[in-house]
Structure formats: structure tokens, C-alpha cells
């Protein structure tokens, strides 16, 4: 035994540990990543000095439960006495620097080393480190306590270079010393590390990362190792995949595998990718490393060019990240384009599963749209069809921009064999509008509900004269609903009336509904807003003179009969179109029913009806 000195930290260590464990890191298990990182850095530093040296890392678990000890050993460069002091000084410095910088800067190996070691206090009340510098000298033992004291003791002998860290289980931290979990976590963090990591406890001894893929340096080579790639995906991402796309940036400093999700995903779902920085797992839930549209893949990505955040669990949103994100996006896009040319079946499978995502991508990128548009499915009056099927008929393709509009016109359009695409879904209207830009033969046109009438046949001048009076009564009757009458001939004949609503009229309807129930201050505001809509906000009730009931109504001579019948057709059309009715309209419906009952019961008399 020789000298043993006591020094004091310059920071409040327990406060520091509290920050680390409760605020910086998301989970205490990251201590494992930190000690692994220290070991990797030590090995890397030594191999830079000695090209023949082959490093390795070893973990050993002894005891069980509260009596467990975990030892992490590397045969890397080791620390000198100066190094040891410096890494502690570094921690003192961090308070002088501005906030998080000390954690994120590309600091020296020693600087990071100290912070990494400190994180072990999350799971251990005493950390013992035995280190032998490759530069020679005697081995050192460092012993740190969470109360802020540490001791350094010089050992008698010179050991072989490297560092061992011993952690003793802290009360309530038993789970971080469970063999199964430890092995899983070491695999999670270190599966891609380039040095063998061995693990030993009383039962097992194994190499954790013995299946490190050979194609990490060149993801393109992953194409030739399908089973292995899919297996890695299942092991790391916990899902069984069937297809994948290799990712690579131009510089080659970022690579990865994008696994195609075997099920469709919700657009709102958090995109989680698994990202390795210098082959060490940094994040299992990195959202921002792939473009937003790439939500049909889940990826494993490795990089050495991005800057991690303070917790080293995410990446800073900076220009580098933007560049990497774009390049990785380009890898996916290029692969899809390649599929379109050489493997259309494969592309079609993916599109079917992830149509929404593909559409999102197509909206952003016309050249991509150009390649895949044939296989994109849309909902139409002819059923769910792919674009190439729609084009085959050489028909004009109408589209609506909302579900509402589509619903309003769908049965009339079908009866007239109009091809109408429902543009009410995300991106659909935009894509159909864009279609002629990528496909010269496509003829598309926006259809607004009023336009359906274009396909209607006008009544003749003769008929116009004949029905003039009746139409006038009808118009007056619907005036109070801001609805006008149009008498036409159209298919299907069994449809007596069609109610159409312009956007303004539709807005006005919902304002009226709200106005009837809202408090005074808002009623007056709504009144002002609706006044600007009033002029343009007429709805139209198309009456189909081809329909026998309509025909008979207009031939009737009884004015009050016409009025009631038209009102009933109006409310009926509202109901058919799923429009909620306001109080006035409900009243019309109720009175109308009673009137018709009355007429029916008094059909033998020639007086018409009485409702009193």
C-alpha cells in the first residue's frame, strides 16, 4: 500500500446525480451504455496507437439480488493519474460552461469518460475503478462515493493495460443487475459494436455481439443477405418483416436498413427509428432522422456524423440532420423507383399496404408520382379502382374535394355513368388535380355539386310554359329556406329530387344551426358573419320531371297541394343527403305528414284538406 489521498469534487455530486437520473436520461439503464461507451472509447484510443492490437470488452456479473456486483472490463488505453484528475476536473468545469454544452461537444475521451462514469451512481452507491495506462506506470485504484469524495490509491504492481469498473447494486436497483435483462440491454446497445463483447455470470458465458453483420460498412451488400437482415430486424425492432430497403448517404457516413412495415400504420403514429452513433445505440425512438412521409418503414440507422442531444438519446435538429434526412429519403425513393421498373408486383404490394404514405410522398414529389401513379387506389363511383384501371376507360375523371360533395352527388353521378373520384380523403383531390401533369392522357376536372346539373336535360320551352305557375308556387314555398327550384330531366328516374349546396350555403346552414342555440354575444357575431354569405348562399333543389311523382305534382292544379308536396320533397331530399334539419324544417315535415294524412282520409271529398 502506498499513498492514499482524499480530494473533493467541485460540484454537488448528489445534485448532479439527481439531474442525470431524473432529468437528463430517460431511464437509469443508460448507465450501461455509458460504461460500454467508455470501454469502446478506450479500446479505440489504444488501437489508434497500436495497429496490431485487437480490443475486446468483457462484463461479469457476480452475486445475486441486493448483493450483486457488475464488473465492466476493457483492455483499452487505460488512465494515468493525470487523466483521472482531469476527468474529474472536467465535471467541475461543466458548471462554468453554458449548460448542456459540456455534454454534447465532441469532448476529449477523458471528458466524456468522467460523465459516463458518474451516471453509474444512478444504480450504485460505490464505484471502484482499477485502471492501468498503456503508457506504463503503476496501476491505480479509484474509489468514488456519491457523497462527493473519492480516493486514489496506487497499486503495487503494473497490470496489463485496461480498465475495470466495479458497480455494487444500490438498494432498489436490483433489476439493473438481473442477468437476463443485462444481456438484453447490452445487446440492444452494443449489437453493432466492432469489438467482441463477452458476458459472464455463474451460469452463462457468451459473446453478445457475435452476429455483427458484415454489410454494415456497405448497406448495399445487405441485398445479398436477406435472411440475416430480416432476422436482425426482428431481433432489434421486435417485428417480423418481409421486405427492406438499404439506406446510405453519399458520404457513406450514415447507413441503415429501412424495414417495410408489414401492416398499415396510422398517419399520426410516432415514427420510431433505431439509431446508432458510432455503432452505439443512441435512440430507439428517433423521429426526425427520416422524412415525415417515410412512415411505412421502421429503420435501423448507423451514423457517425450527427450530433446527439445532451442526453445522447436524440439528435439536434440542425442542417446536417436535414441533409442526412434528405439523403436517406432519397435512398427510399430511388428504391421505389427501381421497383416500379423492375419489380412492379413488389411495389404494388407495398402501395396497397401503405397507400396513404405513398400518396403523401407523391404530393410532395411529382417525379415520384409519375412513377407510381398507375398503382394508386382511389374511391370512385365505379368502386375502389387503381389509376391505370380508371384510365383504361378513357373517360373524363371528375373529382370532388370533400367527402360532403362526393356524398351529395354520388348516386346521381353513378346513374349517369359519370366517373367521379372521391377527393375527400387525405391527398386524393390534390393528386387527381395533379394527375394530368404526370400523365398526358388523363383528363380530370373538379366537380362541384352544382355542376352535376350540367348533365341534366333542360325541360323544353313548351314544358316551361306548362309548368310556369307551378314552379313559381314551389319557388315561393322554399324561399324561406334559401333554396331555389330547378325543374330538369335526369337519371335515375326513381330519384324525385336532388338537393345541392354550395360551400357558402353549406357554411350558412351550419351557422344557422349554431345560431339557434348559442349565447347572445356569439349570436350577434354569427349574424354578422352570415350576412356576408347571404347573397351567394342559395341551395338548389333539382326536381326530376322524369319521376312520375314529380310529374303528377306539377300537373296538379291545387296550389296548396303543390306547396306542401314541394316542401315534403325538400325535407325528404335533406334526409336523403343526411343533412340535419333545423326547427323550421322539422315543423314542415310534421305538418306535411299530418296534411297528407288528412288528405288521404278525406280523399272522397273535393275540398282539399284541413289541418286544424
Amino acid at each position: 500500500m502506498s499513498e492514499s489521498d482524499t480530494y473533493r469534487f467541485q460540484v454537488n455530486l448528489s445534485g448532479m446525480i439527481n439531474i442525470l437520473s431524473n432529468h437528463l436520461y430517460s431511464n437509469p439503464k443508460v448507465f450501461l451504455r455509458e460504461v460500454l461507451q467508455n470501454a469502446v472509447d478506450a479500446v479505440t484510443a489504444r488501437s489508434q496507437q497500436d495497429a496490431t492490437y485487437q480490443g475486446s470488452i468483457h462484463l461479469e456479473l457476480t452475486g445475486s439480488g441486493a448483493g450483486s456486483t457488475l464488473m465492466i472490463e476493457d483492455d483499452g488505453i487505460g488512465l494515468t493519474r493525470e487523466d483521472v484528475h482531469e476527468f474529474l476536473a472536467m465535471i467541475g468545469q461543466s458548471s462554468k460552461r453554458s449548460g448542456a454544452d459540456a455534454f454534447t461537444q465532441e469532448t476529449s475521451f477523458i471528458g466524456r469518460f468522467g460523465i459516463g462514469l458518474l451516471s453509474c451512481f444512478m444504480v450504485s452507491d460505490e464505484i471502484v475503478m482499477v485502471t492501468q495506462s498503456a503508457k506504463g506506470g503503476k496501476a491505480l485504484e479509484w474509489r468514488g462515493n456519491p457523497d462527493g469524495t473519492y480516493h486514489i490509491r496506487e497499486l503495487e504492481t503494473e497490470l496489463s493495460p485496461g480498465t475495470k469498473v466495479y458497480l455494487r447494486c444500490k438498494p432498489d436497483c436490483e433489476m439493473y443487475y438481473e442477468s437476463e435483462l443485462l444481456q438484453q440491454w447490452i445487446y440492444d446497445y452494443g449489437a453493432l459494436l466492432p469489438y467482441p463483447i463477452t458476458f459472464r455470470d455463474e451460469q452463462t458465458q457468451r459473446i453478445i455481439n457475435d452476429q455483427r453483420p458484415v454489410w454494415l460498412d456497405d448497406p448495399e451488400r445487405a441485398r445479398g443477405h436477406r435472411d440475416e437482415v430480416l432476422q436482425l430486424g426482428q431481433r432489434l425492432l421486435g417485428e417480423k418483416f418481409q421486405d427492406y430497403i438499404p439506406l446510405r448517404t453519399a458520404s457513406g457516413r450514415t447507413g441503415g436498413i429501412a424495414y417495410i412495415l408489414p401492416h398499415s400504420v396510422n398517419l399520426n403514429v410516432k415514427k420510431s427509428n433505431r439509431v446508432y452513433l458510432k455503432y452505439m445505440l443512441v435512440s430507439e425512438k428517433a423521429e426526425n432522422i427520416l422524412p415525415d412521409w417515410a412512415f411505412f418503414v421502421k429503420s435501423i440507422i448507423w451514423t457517425d456524423e450527427l450530433q446527439p442531444t445532451a442526453s445522447r438519446e436524440h439528435f439536434y435538429e440542425n442542417e446536417k440532420l436535414e441533409e442526412v434526412r434528405q439523403e436517406l429519403g432519397n435512398s427510399i425513393r430511388a428504391e421505389l423507383l427501381r421497383m416500379a421498373e423492375y419489380e412492379p408486383d413488389r411495389l404494388q404490394r407495398i402501395i396497397q399496404l401503405h397507400a396513404l404514405s405513398m400518396k403523401a410522398l407523391a404530393v410532395e414529389d411529382t417525379s415520384f408520382f409519375q412513377i407510381i401513379y398507375r398503382w394508386l387506389p382511389f374511391e370512385t363511383t365505379y368502386g375502389r379502382r387503381k389509376v391505370h384501371e380508371l384510365l383504361a376507360d378513357n373517360q373524363k375523371m371528375y373529382y370532388t374535394t370533400s367527402l360532403d360533395e362526393y356524398r351529395q352527388i354520388t348516386h346521381v353521378a353513378s346513374a349517369q355513368s359519370l366517373l367521379v373520384v372521391n377527393g375527400g380523403y387525405v391527398y386524393d383531390a390534390e393528386l387527381i388535380a395533379l394527375l394530368p401533369e404526370v400523365c398526358a392522357e388523363a383528363n380530370t376536372e373538379r366537380l362541384i355539386p352544382e355542376d352535376v346539373s350540367l348533365a341534366f336535360t333542360d325541360i323544353t320551352t313548351e314544358e316551361r310554359k306548362q309548368y310556369y305557375e307551378a314552379v313559381r308556387y314551389a319557388d315561393v314555398a322554399l324561399q324561406r329556406f334559401r333554396c331555389q327550384i330547378q325543374l330538369k330531366r335526369f337519371k335515375p328516374e326513381d330519384l324525385p329530387a336532388l338537393f345541392t349546396l354550395s360551400q357558402e350555403a353549406s357554411d350558412l346552414r351550419s351557422i344557422e344551426t349554431s345560431k339557434s342555440v348559442s349565447p347572445l354575444a356569439l349570436t350577434s357575431v354569427l349574424q354578422s358573419l352570415s350576412s356576408s354569405l347571404q347573397q351567394s348562399a342559395y341551395s338548389t333543389l333539382y326536381l326530376n320531371i322524369n319521376n312520375s311523382v314529380v310529374e303528377r305534382i306539377f300537373q296538379a292544379k291545387n296550389e296548396s297541394m303543390i306547396v306542401v308536396a314541394i316542401e315534403m320533397l325538400y325535407v325528404n331530399a335533406l334526409m336523403m343527403g343526411h343533412y340535419p334539419m333545423n326547427r323550421q324544417e322539422m315543423q314542415v315535415l310534421n305538418q306535411g305528414i299530418v296534411r297528407f294524412l288528412d288528405w288521404g282520409l278525406s280523399a272522397n271529398t273535393d275540398q282539399g284538406g284541413h289541418t286544424e
Binding site: V517, S524, L529
Partner: protein, 356 residues
């Protein structure tokens, strides 16, 4: 006939499920409106309420303030009838969104807006929230009217009070302060006020999205081009495609036309479709005003003679007539500005647009 029966007779829960699975935007709004119609036609007030709650939020954050207002009015009315049935916090919180956009509608008079403000104050008081939100919104509305000095008084009053559960998050408030500094026009002060947001120390769902475009011109005028470029890229990525940010796309365009006319034109082409039927007259006005400057510059520059207009643009023939587009855009902007100014009782917006 259509072979998708579930589209024709869908049920309320299914539609709501579908709506929840979508990001904010038109498709989601369409589904929610569909759900509301079903609930209303079956007379199910509770369902109508829950669908409208979702609609108010969705519309607020995807650029449909009018729809939000209409649905909110209905909610408030139902709430007053049966206050014990519904969640008061959600409702009172959304009241603020209504006040955020109400001054954008020139049809709504100042007296009417004041009445709303008083109503909000009364309700907040009733549920035990502080008056700070009331003062904050006095500030914010006066700012909307273009009355700087009066707004300053209420800002001071707001800042002197403690925040409470109804206060906007700090990032949102800081953003409001930035907007106010933009009105006052001191570039250095604008940048200083925006600093905590730019540094990423204050963020929320809409900040820094809203803020980044505000510092572009101040930075440009101070010659800090690199910084401006950085925030332009960052900001544009955040707002892309969301019609809620049509005003901000205009600010990006206005900055870019100093840097690269073609890039500015690209921004116009990407956003003009969203601006056409935009529900917020003031945001649309500013977009048009910035676009008018862009087209005047394009005409003067002479290198570009046509523009890609979206399907449905009401004047497709103007695609090859840039002077006509420029004057139409300016005229539309000035027309709205005139109406806003008339309501506000000053000439703030007309002057603002003429000085661009």
C-alpha cells in the same frame, strides 16, 4: 352504384375513429362534419358536442377559424343549458382560440368583439381563473386593430400579473411579444425578443413555427444573412402544407424575393392553392399583399413570364399575364385592408400594405 356502403351509411363512432386517425387538415374536418351531421340528425346532443369539440381544435390548428367559431358557438350554447354535463376547462380554453382569430373578420364589429371579451372575462371569473387572460386578450386584440400604444398599456398590465392555468404557454406568449415588436418596428428589439425562441429554449406546438418567419426581414436588414437563411429553411419545413400558416408562408415569400425570385415564386405556387379559399380574411390579405410585391418584382425583373396556377384558380388566363396577377392580388389585399381599417377606425392595414 357505389360499392362502398359504409361510406353511405357510416356510423358515428366509426367516423370519429377515422377522424382521430388523421392529422389535422381538410380530410379530418370533412369527417368530423359528417359525424356532426349524423349526431344532429339523430338528435344526439352529447355526440354532437364531442365531435364539435374535436372540430374546434382541428379547425383552429389547420386554418379554418370560421368553422371553429361556428362550432364553438354551438358548444357554448349547449354548455349553458347543461353546464354539469361537459368539461368546462376544454371549453374555456378554446374560447381563447376564438379571440385569437375573431379580429381577422372585418364583418365583426369592435362592439361585438368587446362583448365577447366581456363574456369571456365573466366566464373565466365564474370558474375561478384570474383576469390576466382578459388583459392579455385586450392587448392581443388592440394589437390586431393596429393600436400600438393602447396595446402596450394592456401588455404591461398583463406582465404585472401572475400566470395561471388559463394562460397561454410561455412560448406562445413570447411569440405574441415578438409580433408586437414587429409592429413597433425596431429590428434589434424584434430579434432580442425572439432570441429565447430562436435558441430553442421556448417551444410548443406552434412555436417556433410562427416565430421564425418574423425575424427573417429584421435579420436581412441587419445583414445577418446566414442566420436568416438558417431560420428560413428551418421555419419553412415546420409550416409546409398547413393552411394555418398561409400568412407565414407569405412572410417567407417576402423575405425570399430579396434573395432569389424563383425560390419566392416557388413558395407562391405551393401556397396559392391553400390561400384561395382561406377562411381567415386577414391572413389571406397578407399573403396576397406579399405575393403582389413578388409579382411586381418579377415583372420588373423580366426573366419569368408565366406562373403555375393550381387547378381551380379562378383566373387561369392570368398564368401568362404577370402584371394582371400583380394588380389583382394587390387590389384584393387592399380591399380587405380597407374593410378591416374601417372596422378598426384607422388606416393601419392599408398603410402596412402600401409600404411593403
Amino acid at each position: 352504384m357505389n360499392n362502398q356502403p359504409e361510406q353511405i351509411n357510416p356510423d358515428f363512432e366509426d367516423i370519429m375513429d377515422q377522424a382521430y386517425s388523421l392529422p389535422n387538415g381538410r380530410a379530418k374536418i370533412a369527417l368530423l362534419e359528417e359525424a356532426i351531421r349524423i349526431a344532429d340528425s339523430l338528435g344526439d346532443v352529447e355526440q354532437g358536442y364531442s365531435a364539435r369539440e374535436e372540430l374546434v381544435e382541428t379547425c383552429t390548428f389547420s386554418g379554418h377559424p370560421m368553422k371553429a367559431l361556428v362550432a364553438f358557438s354551438w358548444l357554448l350554447g349547449q354548455f349553458d343549458q347543461q353546464p354539469e354535463e361537459y368539461d368546462d376547462f376544454t371549453l374555456l380554453w378554446s374560447y381563447k382560440w376564438i379571440l385569437d382569430s375573431i379580429a381577422s373578420f372585418p364583418e365583426v364589429s369592435r362592439a361585438q368583439i368587446d362583448e365577447l371579451l366581456v363574456d369571456m372575462r365573466k366566464r373565466y371569473e365564474q370558474f375561478g381563473y384570474s383576469e390576466r387572460s382578459y388583459y392579455y386578450y385586450r392587448f392581443s386584440l388592440l394589437k390586431d386593430y393596429g393600436e400600438v400604444e393602447e396595446a402596450q398599456q394592456f401588455l404591461n398590465k398583463t406582465k404585472a400579473m401572475d400566470r395561471d392555468e388559463m394562460s397561454d404557454c410561455e412560448a406562445c406568449e413570447q411569440h405574441q411579444f415578438v409580433e408586437f415588436e414587429v409592429m413597433k418596428g425596431n429590428d434589434e428589439q424584434i430579434i432580442r425578443t425572439a432570441r429565447p425562441i430562436l435558441k430553442g429554449r421556448m417551444t410548443c406546438g406552434e412555436v417556433p413555427h410562427l416565430t421564425l418567419s418574423k425575424v427573417l426581414m429584421p435579420l436581412y436588414r441587419q445583414g445577418k444573412l446566414e442566420e436568416a437563411e438558417k431560420y428560413q429553411k428551418q421555419g419553412y419545413r415546420l409550416i409546409k402544407g398547413n393552411r394555418d400558416f398561409v400568412l407565414h408562408s407569405g412572410e417567407h415569400m417576402y423575405y425570399l424575393l430579396n434573395i432569389d425570385l424563383l425560390q419566392a415564386l416557388e413558395v407562391f405556387e405551393q401556397w396559392v392553392g391553400l390561400s384561395l379559399d382561406h377562411e381567415n380574411p386577414r391572413d389571406k390579405m397578407m399573403f396576397n399583399a406579399y405575393a403582389a410585391v413578388l409579382f411586381k418584382r418579377l415583372v420588373a425583373d423580366g426573366n419569368v413570364t408565366s406562373v403555375k396556377l393550381p387547378a381551380g384558380y379562378p383566373y387561369p388566363e392570368e398564368a401568362n399575364d404577370l402584371p394582371a396577377i400583380a394588380s389583382r392580388l394587390e387590389q384584393m389585399a387592399l380591399e380587405t385592408a380597407g374593410r378591416l381599417d374601417q372596422r378598426n377606425g384607422n388606416s393601419y392595414y392599408t398603410t402596412l400594405i402600401q409600404q411593403l
